[in-house]
Amino acid sequence: MTSIWTVTLATLKKDIRLEWRSKDALNSMLFFSLLVVVIFVFSFDPLAEESRHIVGGLVWVGFLFAAVVALNQTWARELRNQVLDAYRVSPAPANALFLAKVLGNFIFVGVLEALMTPLFVIFYNLRVLGSAWQLIPIAILGTWALVVNGTFFAAMSLRTRNREIMLPLLLFPISIPAVIAMVAGTTAILTGEDSAHFYIVLLLTYDVVFTTASLALFETILHAE
């Protein structure tokens, strides 16, 4: 059996190279998120105080929708020329492919967040009243929650006819606890009214449970016909 980490790293490098050359996922995600920011800014004109209460929801819903674009792209490029079959006939561990895809999506969505967060801050005139450092674990754990489930369900809907529609239908309901934790945690930090500690622990638990479950089930998904 080939080492899981070697294959994960090789697959991750390959995915980053493919994305760098095509920029399919990043361009569509950026464009989509930009539209979300602009549309909401023009739809209503909140004061700074109101912004703090609603922007947590806006940010994460925007990122969630944008992530779906990247998640669909992840597996689409494995279906072109049936390259996935070449992986399936190799002795490489199935979980290495899954981990590489999750890490790749984590990086792509992370880049999107890094680029879009300043825009949210400017457009919504935001200032953090709580412990700003807590935004970092919320962002990391929240993004991991989105991409780990998203990558898994995107693989699951890979062979369905309407996979672009199937993915949100499967992903959004199961992501509700994570989205609630992300939104409530971000709002708590922005308003400074509450501690985000509980939401960080909730996200961590969610991530551990769903990462373990996805890793345990992915091989079955990969070899399903």
């Binding site: 080939t2 390959k14 020329n81 049936q82 390259v83 079959d85 070449a86 006939v89 002795p91 016909e225």
Partner: protein, 272 residues
């Protein structure tokens, strides 16, 4: 069965084995109920020679209600070149995918060198009708990635197989910009990258120019001569006349015939 008759059966089997097949001396050693040749030859060699490399046992493959394979039973020996022929929908590709471990049989069993297709993946090279390559990467980048999946380090093997299929290792063009012939050859390079004992090729000559086909056939012939077992699904049977050891004819999900050559009228028609 008691001990004595079992011993007698074993003796009879060994005697037949020695006199008819691989034993150069034809000697049966009656004292310890075994063959002298077996005593003097590593056991694995005898076992491999005696057993077929691939065993397909009553394999049925259904997709919903449609049965693509309807009880295929066959043995295939190691080191031989098989060409699988049949009309569209005869089950050729499904059989190949089942051998590659990509389509698990609904019923029946497949053994490749005594293992399940999934366990034998290191010994199997698979080339499908699509290229199984990333269009955005160069051939070398593709092979380097797939070499990593088999634990092959360094570039030497990658460059060796690129040269073997008649392409230039320095070629930096993305696979998406290759001609169909180049793509097929690169796809073959990917399939033989890990030096498999069994090679499964699904329509490797389709949309390929004559020169590329000739180069591929010569390469496959040399691989067969080196002891590899090769299966080629093709609609261009005449290309393999004189090269393939056996033509396996499929129809409606079954193997209906196995011949050493293709019929004259069939060859004259130039196509299946």
């Amino acid at each position: 069965m008691s001990g004595q008759p079992r011993l007698a059966v074993r003796r009879a089997k060994l005697e037949r084995f020695c006199s008819q097949q691989h034993c150069p001396f034809g000697i049966f050693h009656p004292v310890n109920s075994t063959c002298i040749e077996i005593l003097h030859t590593p056991r694995t060699q005898v076992t491999e020679a005696a057993k077929p490399a691939i065993t397909v046992n009553h394999v049925i493959k259904q997709f919903g209600r449609f049965a693509a394979l309807r009880g295929v039973t066959a043995d295939f020996d190691a080191g031989r070149f098989y060409s699988i022929l049949g009309d569209n929908g005869a089950g050729k590709t499904t059989l190949l995918r089942a051998l590659a471990g990509l389509a698990a049989p609904t019923r029946g069993e497949i053994a490749i060198f005594g293992q399940s297709p999934e366990d034998a993946c290191r010994d199997v090279g698979y080339m499908a009708h699509p290229s199984l390559l990333y269009d955005e990467m160069s051939g070398r980048e593709n092979l380097r990635y797939f070499a990593g999946l088999y634990g092959i380090a360094g570039d030497s093997r990658t460059e060796e197989v690129i040269r073997l299929v008649g392409l230039d290792p320095a070629l930096n063009r993305a696979v998406g910009q290759y001609s169909q012939g180049m793509r097929q050859r690169m796809s073959l390079a990917r399939a033989i990258l890990h030096d498999p004992k069994l090679l499964l090729l699904d329509e490797p000559f389709s949309n390929v120019d004559v020169q590329s086909v000739r180069a591929m056939v010569v390469l496959l012939k040399s691989m067969r001569d080196a002891g590899k077992t090769i299966f080629v699904v093709t609609h261009q049977a005449v290309l393999l006349e004189g090269v393939a050891d056996e033509f396996v004819w499929m129809q409606d999900g079954r193997i209906v015939d196995r011949t050493a050559s293709i019929p004259q009228d069939f060859a004259r028609a130039g196509m299946q």
